[in-house]
Symmetry: C2
């Protein structure tokens, strides 16, 4: 079996045993959705968010769509990884010299990447169009923003949680300025987080219908001894709109531009009311995992219908086994 | 008046005096189009191409649409800058170690940038979608290709012809994977041509209708003592398709992310049969200028209707005066 590398123990990881007789790779938390409409005063909907263990509890960066439908980023706190309190004020970023950065028009779909003694936040920002942004924090109080790593138009930037062969690596999904009817996963390399290059194609949309329109990276890649486990979103374009499902692949351990295994089936697709019905119906969108190194338990957080946050569970053994058995 | 900086004398620059009574900023060559259909055996149409003075004559990199409509790059030779012979074989690129590079699916809209003791070729290449490519040559025999500077999707990359404050600068126009219905000019910075960052917005599509859909950089910027003269293309979206005109702006001399003057009028718009009628009608697309430092004469080359190459003339004084008087 694959072994977790550079993992951490998370004793209080949220967990619920797999329902008896259930054979799928991921099962939903019975208390879903864990974040409902109007989680705070100025936020109509929170979803596509990310958390990390912090001081024995959990802290997260949340996408909060305001009362004008425009998304911004908020800190959220949780003792158990299931119940959250969102701060009322948006996160205020500073530049590398500590001076406040002028707020851009919108910010959405954050990922939080534990990295050495700090955390990176990577999200979709506005630079005369959507593109990726990076900020760094140690204490979740001061967030130092970098220059945008890529030109517009781009979304779903996901930084690897450590340097590989001395370089930073970022997955992203170049897009257009609207509801992009295409999407593949690319890899980019940097020595300093400011200048990026050596862009490579990692994974293209599939012939399988669930990801035939686009595919993008989800949570921070999970390092295994024989590769990197990457949960993805895949999109089917139906006559009545896009349907977003959760998929997965395993990248080569040393050359992360190479796909070793790619699951031909979705791992989860919108089926529950809170997934099929909401502000944007039929969307489940994974943006975060917690992984307990000791047990191999995975708690996966996903946006549901661009309205709620859902939680699902699996183990490294179970999901890797499913991916390998159903790999194309 | 603005003075040309770092200019070269080109004694044999193509030239024709301005027709008597003509008051516009640019006038067309009476012998247009200078490159007609089927300029070589495998090429149905050549357009959007660029040349430089070389060994007392001229040499250029041409976009040649093949007999399957797919564009590739060809060398072309001319004694007078008006009559061209295209080579029959496509340009073969090598990597930085001199090994042949696998040909990508398509290559188009090259610019040729004289730079110190060498030339850069910048064009739209294929990396699982259109994006910019860079190659370097000294002799127009060996072309060393770099890694693609930007992720897809991007077109109309134009490198500045010298380092500014120690950095390379490139304009580009991020796009989508198709006939992009948006387009603004961005600037990116690099220390080594491989890793790029510090992306800035330079110019957005205008409220003026001729450039209301998109705007992109054209030929290599021309250095003046008080700024950089940049010819552009601007696009109007009509009910029957896009119309591409030629515009211009002047960027700040030291901070090339800043527009000092932006001409509110087009300088030239499709009006001649070879511009309004062809493979893609109603397109004029500037990709090259020759500038004679001694006289200030400018010969501007443009693709016409994605079918022909046209030539137009002006002088630095005349066009800068027009831009400044008609600046918004």
């Amino acid at each position: 079996m694959s072994k977790i590398i550079n993992g951490k123990n998370i004793k209080n990881i949220p967990w619920e045993e797999c329902p008896k007789g259930f054979e799928g790779p991921l099962w939903r938390y019975s208390g879903n959705p864990i974040v409902k409409r109007h989680p705070s005063k100025e936020v109509a909907r929170a979803f596509n968010s990310a958390l990390v263990p912090f001081n024995g509890e959990f802290i997260g960066v949340f996408r909060g769509d305001n009362l004008d439908d425009i998304p911004h980023l908020y800190l959220g706190h949780s003792k158990d990884g299931v119940h959250f309190e969102l701060e009322e004020e948006r996160i205020q970023f500073v530049d590398q010299n500590g001076n406040p950065v002028k707020e851009t028009l919108y910010q959405y779909d954050p990922r939080v990447i534990p990295f050495e003694d700090k955390y990176f936040v990577v999200w979709c920002d506005e630079l005369n169009g959507p593109t990726i942004a990076i900020a760094e924090t140690k204490d979740f109080k001061t967030f130092k923003k970098y220059d945008n790593p890529f030109l517009p138009y781009n979304r779903n930037g996901v930084l690897f949680p450590r340097k590989i062969n001395g370089n930073y690596y970022m997955l992203s999904r170049p897009s257009d300025s609207g509801h992009t009817a295409f999407g593949d996963i690319f890899l980019s390399e940097s020595k300093d987080l400011t200048y990026w290059g050596k862009h490579r194609v990692v994974a293209q949309k599939g012939y399988e219908w669930w990801c035939a329109l686009k595919i993008g990276a989800g949570p921070v890649p999970i390092e295994l001894d024989d590769g990197w486990l990457v949960f993805t979103h895949g999109v089917n374009r139906t006559c009545n709109g896009y349907v977003y499902s959760i998929g997965a692949m395993i990248l080569d351990h040393d050359d992360v531009s190479k796909v070793k295994y790619r699951c031909k089936n979705f791992l989860l697709t919108p089926e529950m009311d809170y997934e099929t019905n909401g502000f944007v119906s039929n969307v489940i969108f994974p943006t975060c995992t917690l992984v307990d190194a000791e047990t191999g338990r995975i708690a996966l957080y996903y946006g549901a219908a661009d309205t709620y946050i859902g939680l699902a569970f699996t183990t490294v053994d179970r999901v890797v086994d499913y991916i390998k058995k159903n790999s194309r």
